[in-house]
């Protein structure tokens, strides 16, 4: 999302004009060095502010917010073991799990649809998005800023807008609504995230390595496959993971572009909520939450990269 140098320098100039501030500080302060340490001593980040209290305001807030985030999940999971349909506890039962696994054909068909779309759309999006990020960071060409803008807007526009514009588009060009249109829509909203994650990774990449590879006789293709691709792999993997979860999760956009026979899991859950809630949803919740937990655990290395992209 870099802008032209002109804009940047204008922004800096504006900043400088606003300068007269009340406080004047030295940019950084030296912490007292242990004896025998040469030069300025900087404590490792985590050890700074050693008086930082465990029960400070921000820590309490964090714990409360996490509790807020998990509370609904706990309620649903608890009631998945309830013998009766309602919210009054009548006894422990695994009935809803039995129903979920052995008596919910339609639900599993919807799940299969979701799965197929998530895998295909995230692979296509990861491939195209990574390629584009490499092209933009590696070379200079005129339409770069166009691609940067067009890849950013879909991330921030409300889903309703993207869904409706795609519905109108598919109708206008007479593409039938179904699995294919859902695949196209999901790839479209996944692309920008992959592009952003891989671009961020390339931001840290030292391009003089490429020159070194060239000087040592590597061809264009060898440079790409043996130097660039391995170093952006964490970005690519985070992008893929993000794309899969977003695709599995999406309801609003899919709602518009789906047709008969292409019900995805979120659409199925929606119809369950609207037309008669069955406690099978509670049981399904636990299964999905466990799945997400495994995913987050398996990819914990990438969580920080993913956080940086949202």
């Amino acid at each position: 999302m870099s802008t032209s140098p002109k804009v940047k320098s204008a922004a800096v100039a504006a900043k400088l004009k606003k300068q007269p501030k009340k406080m004047r500080l030295e940019p950084s302060r030296l912490v007292e060095a242990p004896k025998g340490t040469p030069g300025p001593y900087k404590l490792p980040k985590n050890q700074m502010f050693q008086d930082h209290r465990k029960f400070g305001f921000s820590n309490i807030m964090l714990v409360l917010v996490i509790a807020f985030l998990f509370m609904p999940l706990f309620v649903v999971v608890t009631y998945s073991f309830n013998a009766s349909r309602g919210m009054r506890w009548t006894g422990f039962s695994l009935e809803w799990y039995y129903k979920l696994f052995f008596d919910s054909k339609e639900l599993w068909r919807a799940f299969a649809n979701s799965f197929v779309i998530a895998i295909t759309s995230s692979i296509v999006a990861t491939f195209l998005g990574s390629l584009s990020a490499i092209g933009i960071k590696w070379y200079k060409f005129k339409s770069r800023s166009y691609i940067q803008v067009v890849s950013f807007l879909p991330m921030v526009l409300p889903e309703v807008i993207i869904g409706i514009s795609m519905l109108i588009f598919f109708t206008a060009v007479k593409i039938p609504l179904g699995m294919f249109s859902i695949f196209v829509a999901h790839t479209t909203f996944n692309l920008p995230f992959v592009f952003l994650l891989v671009s961020a990774r390339l931001e840290e990449f030292d391009f003089s390595v490429i020159e070194a590879a060239r000087d040592l006789g590597a061809t264009e293709r060898q440079t790409l496959m043996k130097v660039i691709v391995p170093s952006i792999m964490p970005g690519v993997m985070s992008g893929l993971l993000m794309a899969i979860t977003m695709s599995l999760e999406d309801f609003v956009i899919t709602f518009f572009v789906s047709g008969p026979g292409s019900t995805t899991l979120p659409l199925y859950v929606y119809s369950m909520i609207r037309y008669g809630v069955s406690p099978v949803i509670n049981a399904l919740s636990l299964v999905l939450i466990l799945g997400i937990m495994l995913l987050a655990l398996g990819f914990r290395r990438f969580l920080k990269t993913i956080a940086a992209s949202s």
Binding site: A14, S132, V150, V156, F256
Partner: protein, 300 residues
């Protein structure tokens, strides 16, 4: 190979690599947006669709006081939820950035965030409804005799919206605060600033771009929210998103839906431009630290 040829080749390769995504987004994102702009100036078809006749009817219909009321309500709900969300998310992002267990906290924020949004909304219905968790629990404790009206009203919509979008605020705030040099806070304290002073005059100005990103990523999606007001809202909590969807699926007034969508798109685009320019200015500042520190005294 001389440098001119190399540059030309590089440009060609860059375009080759980027073209597939560029074309994909042009066809499936930009063209649909342009169609919406076009449709908003056309006449409504009898059974959905449009007739090719230029008219401003859609925009005239938008000025209907009922729609204006919903528009203002949407603006109000989005603004209020965003302010509460950011206020809650700021200390969280700060605590996470200072923590030794960053990955654990991130996982705890991301797990509910990745859980199917409809499941989460359903969970809130189960909690708030008249035979829901809260009411049943209060009745069992003998606090209330009759169920409290906790759902299908504005309060429920705002609570659930905050719930759904708080991770969108925490994550960028965490990322920005994580990059912040906490020694600056210590320096401020040493120079006599009180704790709130050091937070508001040193930390907040330095993480401005993160706050703006968080605001954009909460305000815009809430402004276009559809599912939450539909499922936990009542008659008084209809939002623009619901109007748009009704125009498409029920009234079949595609030009009006397009016109509303266009308004939201314009609002979002302005927000994005604001965010991009502020991020760019911050980056420029980071790249030329000496210059700014001299004039700025190392803060803000």
């Amino acid at each position: 190979m001389n440098s001119h040829m190399q540059e030309k080749r590089g440009r060609r390769l860059g375009i080759t690599y980027s073209a597939p995504m560029g074309l994909w987004l042009t066809f499936f994102f930009l063209v649909p947006l342009c169609i919406i702009i076009l449709y908003s100036f056309l006449k409504k078809g009898l059974y959905g669709g449009v007739e090719w006749e230029f008219t401003l009817t859609a925009y005239r219909q938008m000025l209907n006081p009922n729609f204006m009321r919903v528009f203002l309500r949407t603006l109000w709900v989005a603004a209020l939820s965003t302010v509460i969300t950011i206020t809650l998310a700021l200390p969280c992002g700060y605590a996470m950035a200072r923590s030794r267990h960053q990955v654990m906290w991130l996982a705890l924020v991301i797990i509910p965030f990745w859980t199917n949004s409809l499941i989460r909304i359903y969970a809130w219905i189960a909690i708030l409804s008249s035979e829901g968790f809260v009411n049943e629990a209060l009745k069992a404790l003998g606090v209330i005799g009759e169920s409290l009206p906790l759902i299908y009203n504005q309060g429920a919509v705002i609570t659930v919206l905050i719930y759904m979008y708080i991770p969108f605020a925490i994550l960028p705030l965490f990322t920005t605060i994580d990059k912040f040099d906490f020694q600056l806070l210590e320096a401020a304290r040493d120079l006599g600033a009180s704790k709130p002073e050091s937070i508001f005059k040193v930390l907040i100005p330095n993480i401005r771009s993160g706050i703006i990103t968080a605001v954009i990523f909460t305000f815009i999606p809430i402004f276009g929210a559809y599912t939450v007001p539909l499922l936990v809202g009542g008659k008084d909590s209809y939002m623009i998103g619901n109007i748009i969807v009704d125009q498409v699926t029920k009234t079949r007034n595609w030009p009006l839906a397009s016109a509303f969508s266009l308004v939201i798109t314009v609002v979002s685009t302005i927000g994005v431009i604001w965010m991009m320019t502020s991020t760019a200015s911050e980056r420029a500042r980071l790249k030329a630290p000496a210059q700014v520190v001299d004039a700025n005294g190392g803060i803000s």
